[in-house]
């Protein structure tokens, strides 16, 4: 029905029968309202005269599998009749076309944010690059060499910073975070706060790309000996040591422990796989085996080893050929780390399911491959911009597969929705930049004014909608239309159509466009009719 021929059927039927309202019964509006609205427009009928698809799938076929046919038939009829009642009451919603501000704000100045900024600037648009710290580069400032080709992270960062500094269209603002979003799609007013001066500045932008990266999991006190046993560190700690050239003497039996803060049993912590840590650990094992060819390196992985990045399966094989020992443990019999009573190191106990032997390894370097999480202060950004987070704590996209960078806020796109390696992070940031430049290319945005309007004849100027502050978006004010006569008025650009004011209005003067009270009441009546 939703494919080309199906849509054509609807368009033809409208023309043939001179229809002025259409009801579709199939899946759900989220899935195909836009699809069938196009079919109406193709026939010259306003898309707003469509109701549906009425949920014959999610609300009927998928959930009522055991009730008798007559009951299902009745519900189907209820759903369709009520949709028809709404369709008859539908009205055309005005659409406003506005010029867009040809500036994108990129939040997060790591390699992803910098790459996205350069792409956008190359097109000729201005970029405001907002960075929380006082330097650009983000995570790669802490890393040493990046898989698969062991390229220098510092070189990558330096090259990007040099290009950013040369590009006049990019303005980098440091020590700042986003604290508020005002305005409307295509012309947002974003408030930034400088953490060093507490000063706030407001910037007018068209679209936003969020590339804030990730933070590492912080192990709990005592977790695998963290904070209690000497020699226990994270993979990030080891990277920093490698970068600073601090490893001068060979470590004794360095042992990596995978999945710290990832793949935890539901109810015990982060359920997800952090995707990059196995690859990172394998890369570090290669580094260590090259620096110190005579030491024995161990890697204790949890159930599955995941050299997921390109070229890493091959690097893992090479590591094994060079003598790195990969031990497999399962969560029913986890690895334990205790202080070695005889030395200033640790004893790591692993039951390896592959050899079916228990290993007690004396080590002075226990490296916890920590997982990744959304930045620990991302809650502030989420509140400021009005976006949401997924179950796993990362920023939420509209659809994991088909709309991987859109958010619930038009014009705001995500360059990070999960733990990813450098290449995938940069590519997603570019995807966000691509969407962010669409309205900038076109020069205008179309805003659907699905808002609350006021019937001036019914409005008695009681001020309840305004005084009660019930509007979450500050879209209501009172104007004096003649001496002593006040009427309520809606700021159409700020109104988000939530309907709260229409509920509180005692005379019924306030009503939601396309969701009129009469329409909802008639819909309900039809649904309840025997």
């Amino acid at each position: 029905m939703c494919s080309d021929p199906g849509q054509a059927l609807v368009t033809e039927a409208i023309k043939e029968h001179k229809l002025n309202r259409v009801v579709v019964g199939s899946c759900s509006p989220l899935q195909h309202e836009a699809t069938f609205r196009r079919a109406l427009e193709a026939a010259g009928l306003s898309q707003y005269y469509l109701v549906g698809p009425a949920g014959l799938r999610e609300h009927l076929a998928l959930v009522h599998t055991t009730v008798p046919k007559e009951v299902r038939q009745e519900k189907a009829q209820d759903l369709i009749r009520s949709s028809i009642a709404k369709a008859i009451n539908n009205e055309i919603v005005p659409i406003k076309s506005l010029e867009v501000t040809r500036t994108t704000m990129v939040v997060g100045g790591g390699v992803s944010g910098m790459t996205a900024s350069l792409d956008i600037a190359k097109k000729g648009f201005d970029v405001i690059l907002v960075e929380k710290t006082d330097v650009l580069g983000g995570r790669l400032n802490e890393l040493y060499r990046i898989f698969p080709k062991m390229d220098s992270a510092q070189d990558m960062v330096d090259d990007l910073i040099a290009r950013i500094e040369k590009e006049k269209r990019i303005k980098a603002i440091f020590n700042s975070t986003v604290v508020k979003r005002d305005g409307s799609y295509g012309n947002y007013d974003i408030t930034l706060r400088d953490s060093t001066t507490n000063e706030e500045t407001i910037h007018r932008i068209g679209t936003m790309a969020i590339t804030v990266g990730t933070d590492t999991y912080v192990p709990k006190q005592g977790e695998y000996g963290w904070g209690e046993v000497p020699g226990v560190m994270t993979t990030l700690d080891l990277e920093k040591k490698l970068k600073a050239g601090e490893l001068k003497k060979p470590p004794k039996n360095p042992i990596f422990i995978h999945c710290v803060g990832s793949r935890q049993t539901p109810g015990e912590g982060n359920k997800y796989c952090s995707r990059v840590c196995c690859s990172a650990a394998i890369t570090m094992q290669k580094e260590l085996s090259e620096m110190f060819p005579d030491i024995k390196i161990f890697s204790a992985y949890k159930e599955h080893i995941r050299p997921y990045a390109n070229g890493l399966e091959e690097m893992w094989r090479e590591n094994r050929q060079h003598g790195v020992a990969y031990l497999r443990w399962v969560r029913e019999n986890p690895v334990t780390v205790e202080k070695d009573p005889d030395s200033d190191g640790a004893i790591v106990t692993v039951y390896d399911t592959l050899s079916q032997e228990t290993f007690k390894i004396k080590s002075d370097m226990v490296i916890l491959a920590v997982g990744l999480e959304a930045p620990h202060d991302v809650g502030d950004l989420v509140k400021a911009v009005g976006i949401t987070r997924s179950q796993d704590g990362f920023l939420a996209e509209m659809h994991m597969k088909f709309r991987p960078v859109e958010t619930t806020v038009p014009g705001v796109f995500l360059g990070v929705t999960y733990a990813k390696n450098v290449a995938d992070s940069i590519n997603q940031a570019r995807a966000a930049a691509s969407e962010a430049t669409q309205p900038l290319n076109l020069g205008t945005v179309e805003i659907e004014l699905l808002t609350a309007d006021v019937d001036e004849d019914l409005c008695v100027g009681c001020d309840l909608c305004n005084y009660s502050e019930i509007c979450p978006y500050d879209a209501i004010s009172m104007i004096e239309i003649s001496p002593g006569v006040k009427k309520s008025i809606t700021d159409e650009m700020a109104c988000e159509g939530c309907g709260a004011c229409t509920a509180i209005c005692p005379t019924g003067a306030r009503d939601l466009r396309w969701w009129r009270e009469k329409s909802i009441l008639e819909q309900t009546e039809e649904m309840l009719r025997e």
Binding site: C27, A87, K123, I146, D151, C273, Y308, M400, F402
Partner: protein, 480 residues
């Protein structure tokens, strides 16, 4: 205050169109982002319809959504977009010029059907007397010499496979619109574009080299994509998974991971040392779809693996669900050999259960699904020569830099996205398609907006006239 920035295109002679080679998921994502941003995208597609491997898949991991539910309206939208031109049955023959100004010569094969009059009614398909193996179903079904890949394909036009056509003109006789053009000819024409995006995808590795598995000899040993077609409503078995040898419902299905990848043996054709990244999740999805179709007391499902590499968003949770709630038996080990009973065509395997250390034999297996890997698509090397871009050691298109420039090639103005440069899942392909879009257009001038087509408003009477349309019961139940 509106910024004055943005290069103006004005009366430029520099093209703002972009060429997208390959109309799979990555190509579609690139084309849509370009088109929505005002640039015209020319999609060059080798086969008769767009969507590539992704539109042929039934359910997508991890949410087990129906792929067609999103892909059919998406491809329909692509087909209708005023800023996208689809060139089916086409390949790139020659490229001259440089970044910002390429002249691309396209060779389009003859369709033998008039694209302006064909409505996709399929009367010709019903009438055609010739049956040949259907490549879209990986040879599991037959198609006619005049055919559609599936009934909702875009563009919705019939095509005659001239090699199998016998010229009987039955199709021409039944076609109500007189669409058949027997003397249709191949066309060659030029396009002037500013940038090129290569999104030619992959093909499935067919494991004939695994002689110990009997693929191609034992009828009940199939690959993952072949089995997926069996689960598909437009596939060869109407969404009902059955044994190819006798059409009976399977009572025991065995899944085998890592076929054609993580394998350093010399006899495996193509590059096979890598981890193919997506097959673990794909295999789990097939196991779950099998369980949705056949309850545990009807069909036993055994999943064999070395490591489960479900390392994407929500995929670890998907693995947990498959392992703990679906009555699917996971055995960690690589199967050594598949044996067949020549009378029943039942299969049995011998393998080591590496968690217990024991050698086990599993008998009376109805079907074995080999979770196969990806290989570069046909014609990759020739295309690389035409575009003057490099191929990596692993056989995929070569990235300029594996970390910071993985969507760029050695040639400015030519970009890559999706599986064309290495195996990856749908999410990554979509992100890369979009990323390639901005790379492609950021060096081009602003496009001049197209005149919007004015559709005359319909005559509307005061009295409401409501039309109600339904999706069929099959559609609703099958999109489960």
């Amino acid at each position: 205050m509106v910024s004055e920035s943005g290069k103006k295109s004005g009366a430029t002679t520099k093209p703002t169109d972009v060429l997208v080679i390959g109309a799979g998921m990555a190509g579609i994502s690139a084309a849509l982002d370009l088109a929505d941003g005002g640039h015209h995208a020319h999609m060059i597609e080798k086969t008769v319809s767009i969507g590539g491997n992704y539109v042929a898949i039934y359910k997508i991991f991890p949410a087990l959504e129906c792929s067609a539910c999103v892909m059919t309206p998406l491809t329909s939208f692509v087909g209708k977009h005023s800023n996208i031109t689809i060139h089916p049955l086409s390949q790139v023959q020659k490229v001259t010029g440089s970044a910002g100004n390429f002249t691309v010569t396209i060779h389009q094969k003859a369709r033998y059907v008039n694209p302006d009059t064909c409505t996709g009614c399929q009367l010709c398909v019903r009438a055609c007397p010739v049956e040949v193996p259907n490549e879209y179903d990986h040879g599991l079904s037959l198609r006619k010499a005049i055919y559609f890949n599936f009934p909702q394909q875009i563009p919705l036009l019939a095509t005659i496979d001239r090699d199998s056509c016998i010229g009987c003109a039955t199709c021409a006789g039944v076609c109500p619109q007189d669409c058949i053009i027997y003397d249709d000819e191949d066309k060659t024409y030029d396009l002037n574009v500013g940038s090129i995006v290569v999104a030619t995808g992959y093909q499935e590795y067919k494991p004939f080299d695994y002689t110990e598995y009997g693929y191609g000899i034992f009828p009940n040993v199939v690959t993952s994509l072949e089995y997926d077609r069996q689960t598909h409503p437009t596939g060869p078995t109407d969404s009902h998974m059955i044994r190819p040898s006798d059409g009976k419902e399977p009572e025991k299905i065995l899944f085998v991971n890592c076929v054609g990848s993580r394998d350093v043996r010399e006899n495996i054709s193509g590059y096979s040392d890598h981890c193919n990244k997506v097959c673990c999740s794909f295999g789990l999805k097939l196991a779950q779809v099998t369980r949705m179709h056949y309850p545990a007391d009807h069909c036993e499902i055994i999943y064999t693996y070395m490591d489960m590499r479900t390392a994407g968003k929500a995929l670890e949770e998907f693995l947990w669900d498959t392992q703990h709630t679906k009555d699917i038996n996971f055995v960690r080990g690589r199967i050594a050999e598949i044996y067949e009973d020549p009378d029943t065509h039942d299969l049995s395997v011998k393998m080591e259960d590496t968690e217990s250390g024991e050698i086990i034999e599993i008998e009376d297996i109805s079907m074995v699904v080999l979770n196969s890997s990806f290989r570069p698509n046909e014609g990759q090397e020739e295309l690389a020569k035409i575009l003057k871009i490099e191929i990596s050691e692993e056989g995929w298109f070569k990235e300029k830099h594996p970390n910071t420039q993985s969507l760029e090639t050695n040639r400015p103005g030519v970009f890559i996205a999706g599986c064309a440069h290495g195996p990856k899942d749908g999410t990554d392909s979509v992100n890369e398609g979009k990323g390639a879009a901005i790379l492609a257009h950021s060096t081009l001038p602003l496009p001049t907006p197209k005149e919007k087509e004015i559709i005359p408003p319909a005559e509307i009477t005061e009295e409401p006239r409501v039309g109600v349309s339904f999706a069929t019961v099959e559609e609703l139940l099958v999109t489960r």
